[in-house]
Symmetry: C2
Subunit: 156 residues, 2 copies
């Protein structure tokens, strides 16, 4: 990890395979991905290196924000890495500037029906880290993670 990281670590009260599915299947990602009252209103996942991770967030006022990215590393049930620095075809995602970020998610077993979960947001510089923090990284990821656990339990 580097000096420009933001990190959330938790033991989740949900099974690892369900948490993985919540991150890798659009129909199971959209229900929890965006802290309420925001909504995820679209999502595409092409689960391979260089494959698309696209989602659209909608504000309570109805404004939509498109997020484009690609996957960099996929180890089923264990690690998922993506970045908004690229679109598919390794095209630099200029729209994401200056807040280029890379997300590394690590999943591990943590006792019966629990998942050890780490989400790290890596940035290329202090300005991007600060912007991400001020946009509410900790609150946003915290609330979304609560929603993820509640949704994963509903999948049992």
């Amino acid at each position: 990890m580097t000096q420009f990281d933001l990190k959330l670590e938790r033991t989740l009260d949900a099974e690892r395979d369900l948490v993985w599915r919540c991150w890798t299947e659009p129909m199971h990602l959209m229900p929890w991905f965006t802290p309420a009252p925001w909504k995820a209103v679209d999502c595409r996942i092409d689960l391979k290196v260089g494959g698309e991770f696209f989602n659209v967030m909608q504000s309570p006022e109805g404004e939509k924000f498109e997020n484009h990215g690609v996957y960099l590393e996929i180890i089923k049930g264990t690690r998922l890495v993506w970045t908004n620095a690229y679109r598919t075809g390794w095209l630099p995602n200029g729209d994401a500037q200056p807040m280029l970020t890379t997300i590394v998610l690590d999943f591990a077993n943590a006792g019966k029906n629990k998942t050890q979960y780490a989400a790290v947001a890596l940035h290329w510089n202090e300005a991007a880290k600060k912007q991400h923090e001020e946009m509410g990284f900790y609150d946003g990821w915290g609330v979304a993670t609560d929603q993820l656990v509640a949704y994963a339990k509903s999948m049992r």
Copy 2:
């Protein structure tokens, strides 16, 4: 491709498999990689997605410049993509700022003992493109490509 690209396209008078080896084996990369009188004095290649592409260039005065990067896509004999935006482990390569770049190399057959060759340098913004151009992208890649062809022929 995007508005922030620099591109070199050529038909090379060398076999595609030799050109590929010149790009993917340190002992066959170092002899041609750096326009003379600069020298490549070290190189590490871990030819997998996320694997390291490291090289050190030495100026005629003896000053050394380390270049760190990782591979993003490898299709043997056909396509090679890497970036200096990351080090191994998907760590943002802050040292490369502001000239983060991604290189896409495409190789195809072009008649007997010839290779159709395209090298594209993709950037996240105009400033990085301009810096790369002013550092001598066209001259540098042009001379290096001449050296590549001469060296590849010597491998026959």
